[in-house]
Structures are given as structure tokens and as C-alpha cells.
Subunit: 298 residues, 2 copies
């Protein structure tokens, strides 16, 4: 297997899927559609839909089905809306993301709020397009929708964001940091991978294992981010290092120290891989993908 070539091809496929589901930039509500497209088109790793597709394929999901594509786009829309709102002046007040101006810097604050709202809502509209494809039974689609919603809300991503905002600048204990990492980072990785499994017809027990894998990978991913912020090579990392320390942000890595942080990333990764192998599917691409997330330098 040529992992790099496969990953590049997967990313290209995801890119074309996600953008194909954007609303048409026409009619009186053209501006909000453009604002939504602006942030979705800003790129990024497309990590969540790539994960969803790879797990779907691992479980033998029918590759000619369009339903998985609708959910992949929906998941990326949820991720993107959260970035638009995170960047707002009342939140992180960021002027740039991924090298271009943030949504509110281009479209104004009111439109950025509405573009985020529109994109979150459009995620559900998009996932529900799968109904009209008539490929997957209604109960399975409802199960996937339930995971999509639960992991994005106050018991998932929004909940993590809330606690992150509330405890800003505080010396959080491990339980609080773990809560933030699980909800803010792992939750959407969990839903991405779980939905891939559900739509491919995996059993409830298998979906549970996938959730656990994603949970561990998400936390490891975030700790790796902390590590890179401390010891990363700015030119490779692609963003300024040392920003956590400068902002007085306590992270898992800064709290436990680099040696322990590296060990924790390795421990979580090993555990995730063992569960993945126990599932008994052809998993080489997924394994390489998870390892690439965790062992990354950027």
C-alpha cells in the first residue's frame, strides 16, 4: 500500500464531495451562501470526512452509495461553523485563519454569526439529503443523525468549547483538561468515525469500539498539538510555536511535562491500535491514517 498516494486521493475525493454540497450562491440570500462557502473553501485537513470515509470503507460500506457523502459534508460543515464562531471578536477575536482573513473580517460580524448558524443548520439539511437517495434504511440514518447531533452539542463539541472559554487562563486540573480534550477535540472525531461505521452496517458493539478508538486518538491528537506548540519547528508546524505559554494557557503537555506527554501520546496510540486490530478488518490505511495524525510534526 502506498499510504501517501492513497491519502492524497482520499483528500481529493473528500474535497470534491464537501464543496459539491455547498448551497448555490444565488437568490436574495446569496451573501450568506457566499460567506458559508468562503470558510468551507478555506481548506484545512478535511480530517473528519476523511476519517468517516476510511472507516466506512474498512467496514465494507458500498462505495457507490451517496449517503456517506452527505454525512461527510455535514460533518465538515459542523466543524467549519465552529471555527467561524470561535474566531468572532467576542470569542478568540482572530483576524486570520489558514492564511486568509477570518469570516467576520470579510463579511462583518452579523453575517459571520448568521453564516455560522446557517452552516450548522445546513449540516442537518445536508445529512437529511441521504433520505432521498433511498440507499440506507431510515432507522440506520436516524442512528447516524443522532450521533452527528449528540457529539456536536453541549455534551460534545459545544460543551468542550464552553468549558475552554470559561476556564481561560486558569490552572485547570487534569479532569478539566481531559473534559475539554474529550469534548472539544475527540467528540467530532468520534462522530465522524462512528457514522462511517454505522452507515456501513457495523454492529452496535463495533460502533462502540470505534468510538473508543476515536476518543483515544482525539486526546492523543490534542496532546501532540500541545507538544508541537512547545517543541515544534515553526516552519514545519505552520503556526507560531509557544503561543500557549505566551497566552498563559495550561495544556496537558505543559502540565505533565514533555517526557510524560510523549509517553501519554504513545500509550493512547498503542491502545487505539490494539482495539482497531481486534476488530479483524483490513485496517492498514486506517491505522496509517491514525498514526499520521498522532506522529505529525504539523
Amino acid at each position: 500500500m502506498d499510504f501517501k498516494a492513497e491519502l492524497t486521493s482520499a483528500k481529493e475525493e473528500v474535497e470534491s464531495i464537501v464543496t459539491s454540497y455547498l448551497p448555490k450562491e444565488e437568490g436574495l440570500q446569496k451573501t450568506v451562501a457566499s460567506a458559508m462557502a468562503y470558510s468551507v473553501n478555506a481548506g484545512g485537513k478535511r480530517l473528519r470526512p476523511v476519517l468517516m470515509m476510511s472507516i466506512y470503507k474498512m467496514f465494507g460500506g458500498n462505495s457507490s452509495n451517496k449517503s456517506i457523502a452527505a454525512f461527510m459534508a455535514a460533518q465538515e460543515f459542523i466543524h467549519t461553523y465552529s471555527l467561524i464562531h470561535d474566531d468572532l471578536p467576542a470569542m478568540d477575536n482572530d483576524d486570520f485563519r489558514r492564511g486568509i482573513k477570518t469570516n467576520h473580517k470579510v463579511y462583518g460580524e452579523a453575517m459571520a454569526i448568521l453564516a455560522g448558524d446557517g452552516l450548522l443548520n445546513y449540516a442537518y439539511e445536508t445529512a437529511l439529503k441521504a433520505v432521498s437517495y433511498n440507499e440506507i434504511n431510515g432507522d440506520t440514518l436516524l442512528k447516524a443523525l443522532d450521533v452527528l447531533a449528540t457529539k456536536a452539542g453541549i455534551y460534545g463539541m459545544v460543551g468542550g468549547q464552553v468549558v475552554d472559554v470559561e476556564t481561560e487562563g486558569k490552572d485547570n486540573d487534569y479532569d478539566t483538561l481531559d473534559f475539554i480534550y474529550r469534548l472539544k477535540t475527540s467528540a467530532l472525531l468520534e462522530s465522524s468515525m462512528m457514522i462511517g461505521a454505522i452507515l456501513a452496517g457495523a454492529s452496535d458493539e463495533e460502533v462502540k469500539k470505534i468510538e473508543l478508538i476515536a476518543n483515544k486518538v482525539g486526546i492523543a491528537f490534542q496532546i501532540q498539538d500541545d507538544i508541537l506548540d512547545i517543541e515544534g519547528d515553526e516552519a514545519v508546524f505552520g503556526k507560531p510555536v509557544g503561543s500557549d505559554a505566551k497566552n498563559g494557557k495550561v495544556t496537558m503537555a505543559s502540565k505533565m511535562g514533555l517526557d510524560k506527554a510523549h509517553a501519554e501520546v504513545k500509550k493512547l496510540t498503542d491502545e487505539a491500535v490494539i482495539i482497531l486490530e481486534s476488530l479483524g478488518y483490513e485496517h492498514e490505511f486506517v491505522k496509517e491514517l491514525l498514526l499520521s495524525l498522532i506522529n505529525r510534526k504539523k
Copy 2:
């Protein structure tokens, strides 16, 4: 039929249903749950869930089913999130709503943004609870979810809000005003009434008629609001009159004049009632309810 007594009892039932679906104010994400509850508990007419329930009953929906309750709460959560975000400094910048401080005045702007996001997402989490009740088949629930989502997004409420924000202070033509009224006001009345019909088992043709009724009632409701802003009795209306003129806001009523506006409300109402009667169900309560919305003085 004692309409007033029935309406009071319907409102009480709705009140207890909506609040029963609020998330528990506990755990690390307690603050966002409290912020969400604060705005939901601020009251209001509960018009959307009351309409949903009344149409559900008109079509003979099983009154011991809980599924309709989940959708009623979901619909009210969507309405409430839109108010929280509308009140933000970057939008209408309102300090008070329904006589109490707006969400961001109590919880701060960042938390109000997140409470709105949380509430919109929680609407879908709440509607999806109907799956676990096992009362209504999956395909019907998916149809109801699709209506809930479509009418709330950029082709519904958010779309209306976007155009309203963009054309602020402009001398909008009738087409633009009609667009705003249909999307900003009618859309959620349409979904409320359509979902009531869908979950009660109404046919596609019946649901289409209900959509048309709600569309007309929504526009009439909004023109009546314009009228009351011009000629209403401030003590009865419950909010300052003349605010549209003061803010340079062009409305249907100010554009067509009071006589034509009154006539338009009557025309839309008559049309809505004729369609309602053509459906052939026992509709006295629904009819009284629609008339009360349109003939109101407050």
C-alpha cells in the same frame, strides 16, 4: 367550545413540555445549560409549539404519544436560539427582551453565542429523542426532521434574517419585503404546523395545504405587527409603538398604507380559513387560534 379556556390549557401543557426537555443544569457545562434555560424560560407566546400541537390534534394524532412533544420542544428551541443571536451587539444590540435582560447581558457575549449554538444543535438532539419512543416509524420522523431543518435554515428563517440585516434602512420593494416576511416569520409557522400534520399521519397533499395556510397566516401576522406598530395602543401592544418609523424601517403596512394593509390581512386570513375548512376536519380550535393571531391588538 370555550376557546380562551382551551388556549390557556394548551399553553400550560406546552409550557410544561418545553421546559421538561431542557438539558440538566449540571456538570462542567452547567453554565451553557443555564444560559439556554434562561432564554427558554423567558416565556413568550409559545406560538409555534401551540400551533404544532393543535394541528396534530386536528389530524387525529394520538394524544398519548410523546414524539410530538419532542418536536414541540425542538421547534421552540430553534425559535429561542434565533432570538438570542438576534439580540447580540453585532445584530440588533438589544439589552432587554420580554422585560428581562437579554442573554448576552447576563451571560456575556461569548456564552450567548455558544448558548445559541447549543440550543440550535440541541433542537435536533431533542427531536431525535422521538426515535427512542418507538411510536412513529422512522421514515415519518425523517420527513418531520427534514421540514424542521429546511424551514430553519438559509432557505427559511436564517435566510429571512440575512436579507433583513442586509437591507436595513433601505426602501425595500414588495418582492423583498415578501421574501423577508415569508422566510423570517412564516417559515417557522409552516414547519410547526406541517410537523404537527406529518406526525399525525396526514397525507402529503394535506401537508402541502397546511404549509400554504401557515404561509398566509405568517405574512398576515407580520403585517398585523406592522399595523400595530403604527396605530396600536402602546399599553395593550406591550412594546413601544412607532419604532419602525423611528428606525426608518420600511414595512408592508407603511409601504401600502393602513387601509390596504388591513385589507391584505383580511384577504390572507380569509384564504387561509377557506383552505382550512376544505380539509374537512373538526377545526374550530385551530380556526379560532389563527384568527386570534391575526386579529390581535398585542
